[in-house]
């Protein structure tokens, strides 16, 4: 019933323009049929089949100045190969009131995604952005915490997220932000974090950035990140980064009482735009898991547009050390002909898990997106997986998209 309720709400929104001549409605619908393999199904060789309906509604210009808008997005899915019930998710549905008080106040009310260094998630609540106070701004948010799980949205009335951030945009392109967040589980405090972000570009060719996420309850740094991005040439970007994390748990979790290791990662990367149509990138990361366990990770990427409407992409990745070895390549390309975009690709991974399975995994896929006109398009995608679990596993989907 909940599924039908939110779909009815979304559909009702489409009628809003009847009440207000000024409002504009943009409706995006995607009706899909998917077939896929579920390794946990009673017969893992048998394909599962779903039908899904995605609906996104943007109702804009509800007022003369175009400050009040409503946005909604949700989906309903039904597994037709079994007797599973219709399931649904309302991803977001909120009223957005920009510049509610001159240019100093933005409001979002309803189900919306909130994001800060200290805490992030989807809430049924309110997000307030008090902005342009000179160089400063304050963001405050809070509401019931919505958890997406197993094709549905869950979360009890006692699950909540609250937070705020105070930010300062000083000399050009310098941003400093302090945020605070609390997560509640069944009305009890589950997490309490402080986040500190900074980013500065003292000269056009150099950017320094960082993030500190501190767990107040565990009295430890949950995440630390420092990085520098330098562009010695217009088309060359170099980056060096240090990242450290220390997993923490909800207060009521028994795991919160255990000591754990820090994960540390040092990485360097370079990205060079050879010409407007060719780009090459490389990356190396050294990972430290504690107790003499470490790993090295390498990545090389190449992007090419040799002729008009053709894009080719290649990424090679190699990893060895703690947890296992992986060497893999991913190739894919896109070609546009008239109203059709054709894509195809291959993934190939050679892996050796520590004390566990080893072998190769291959995925071959192809798809086409055909636009009948600006309003209607159709998509078909198929793939074949050859891997440890399946000799051949065919999966895919077909979709009809309507933009109104």
């Amino acid at each position: 019933m909940r599924v039908m309720k939110f779909l009815a709400i979304l559909m009702a929104l489409a009628c809003v323009p009847l009440l207000s001549h000024a409002a504009e409605v943009k409706l995006t619908s995607s009706t899909q049929y998917l077939w896929y393999q579920d390794l946990l199904a009673a017969d893992k060789e048998k394909s599962q089949e779903d039908v899904a309906e995605y609906l996104r509604v943007n109702v804009t210009k509800l007022d003369k100045e175009g400050k009040i808008n409503i946005y909604g997005y949700g989906r309903a899915t039904k597994q037709v190969s079994t007797s599973q019930d219709l399931q649904g998710r309302l991803y977001y549905f909120y009223v957005d009131y920009r510049d509610a008080f001159k240019e100093h106040l933005d409001l979002r009310a309803g189900r919306t995604y909130v994001n800060a260094a200290a805490v992030s998630g989807t809430i049924d609540g309110l997000h307030v952005d008090i902005k342009n106070l000179g160089p400063m701004g304050i963001t405050v948010f809070g509401g019931r915490h919505v958890i997406f799980e197993d094709k549905r949205d869950t979360g009890t009335r006692g699950d909540a997220l609250t937070g705020m951030s105070l930010y300062l945009d000083t000399i050009k392109n310098t941003h400093i932000e302090v945020s605070y967040g609390r997560k509640y589980s069944d009305t009890d405090v589950a997490r309490e974090n402080i986040g500190l972000d900074f980013s500065t570009t003292p000269i056009g060719q150099a950017n320094f950035y960082g993030r500190l996420k501190y767990d107040i309850v565990a009295e430890t740094n949950n995440e630390i990140l420092f990085g520098a991005k330098v562009a010695p040439l217009n088309d060359l970007v170099l980056r060096a980064e240090y990242y450290q994390s220390y997993p923490t748990f909800d207060i009521a979790s028994i795991y919160s009482i255990f000591a754990v290791n820090k994960y540390k990662e040092k990485s360097i990367s370079a990205e060079y735009q050879l010409t407007a149509n060719y780009r090459v990138s490389v990356k190396y990361a050294r990972e430290d898991f504690g107790n003499d366990a470490d790993a090295d990770s390498y990545e090389i990427g190449f992007l090419a547009r040799p002729v008009k409407d053709l894009t080719l992409n290649m990424i090679y990745e190699k990893r060895n050390g703690y947890a296992g070895e992986l060497s893999g390549i991913r190739l894919y390309g896109e070609y546009k002909i008239s109203n059709a975009a054709i894509m195809a690709g291959i993934d190939y991974d050679d892996f050796r898990r520590e004390l566990s399975r080893e072998g190769t995994a291959k995925k071959y896929w192809a798809g086409v997106n055909y636009e009948f006109n600006k309003m209607i398009s159709a998509i078909v995608r198929v793939e074949n997986n050859v891997n440890f679990l399946y000799d051949h596993s065919y999966q895919g989907y077909a979709a009809i998209n309507i933009n109104y």
Binding site: Y36, P247, G359
Partner: protein
């Protein structure tokens, strides 16, 4: 020595200059460019003194930018753009994405047979998994179908082919300390941990436990402590 009048002048001048500089900051509204292709961003960004993003490593680096208050992501992207990757949505039905075993769309980072390679990817910063998945997500596979003897975890393997004894020695401590979140997947109440650790022979607490234990005790109303310490 500077007198009061001079100090006041310096202070007021500093405040004036600081305010002027701060107000000179103006976030560029990118809404006019939202239909441009990423490669066209270089037309402005290359050589402008503001480095472009959305490059080869943007999937990893976008988090900091997106979590910034007042970020300009919304100038071009709707919330559905984030949700389709982070929560398995598919209104745009990206041709590069595969369906998962539940019939939801997987992000492009989950390449080839991700079930086979996920243990290595999960080791590369375990926190990455929990940005999108609840810990119960792992439970479907790890407790639903496998007995502990067949799990590919060093400390969970039998000592011999016919033995009923598991390699439960110091290996489990090292494994748990490196990725404790993975233990929670199969042992949500940690009953198996409590069997030994409650005896007091092996102290599992972090070094700063004396400083932080009171808050844990208060907030959990002693429930967490009573798992091992019956007097709490």
């Amino acid at each position: 020595m500077l007198n009061n009048r001079t100090l006041k002048i310096i202070l007021l001048s500093t405040v004036f200059v600081f305010t002027l500089v701060c107000l000179s900051f103006a976030r560029t509204d990118h809404r006019d460019y939202k239909d441009n292709k990423p490669e066209e961003c270089r037309d402005c960004h290359s050589g402008s003194g503001v480095m472009s993003n959305h490059g080869a490593f943007f999937v990893k680096e976008h988090r900091l930018l997106a979590q910034k208050a007042g970020s300009n992501c919304a100038d071009c992207h709707q919330q559905s753009f984030c949700i389709d990757c982070h929560q398995g949505g598919g209104i745009t039905a990206d041709l590069q994405r595969s369906p998962s075993r539940r019939g939801e769309y997987k992000p492009k980072t989950h390449r080839s047979d991700f079930i086979s390679t996920h243990s290595m990817k999960a080791a590369d910063n375990p926190q990455n998994c929990y940005r999108c998945h609840q810990s119960s997500f792992c439970t479907d596979c790890h407790t639903g179908t496998r007995s502990k003897g067949s799990l590919r975890i060093k400390s969970h393997r039998k000592a011999g082919t016919s033995s009923q004894i598991y390699n439960w020695n110091s290996d489990h401590a090292a494994e748990a300390r490196r990725n404790l979140q993975s233990c929670e997947t199969c042992h949500p109440d940690a009953d198996v941990c409590v069997q030994c650790h409650s005896s007091g022979k092996a102290n599992p607490h972090p070094r700063n436990w004396r400083d932080i234990s009171k808050r844990y005790k208060d907030e959990s109303k002693g429930r967490t402590c009573r798992k091992c310490h019956i007097t709490y």
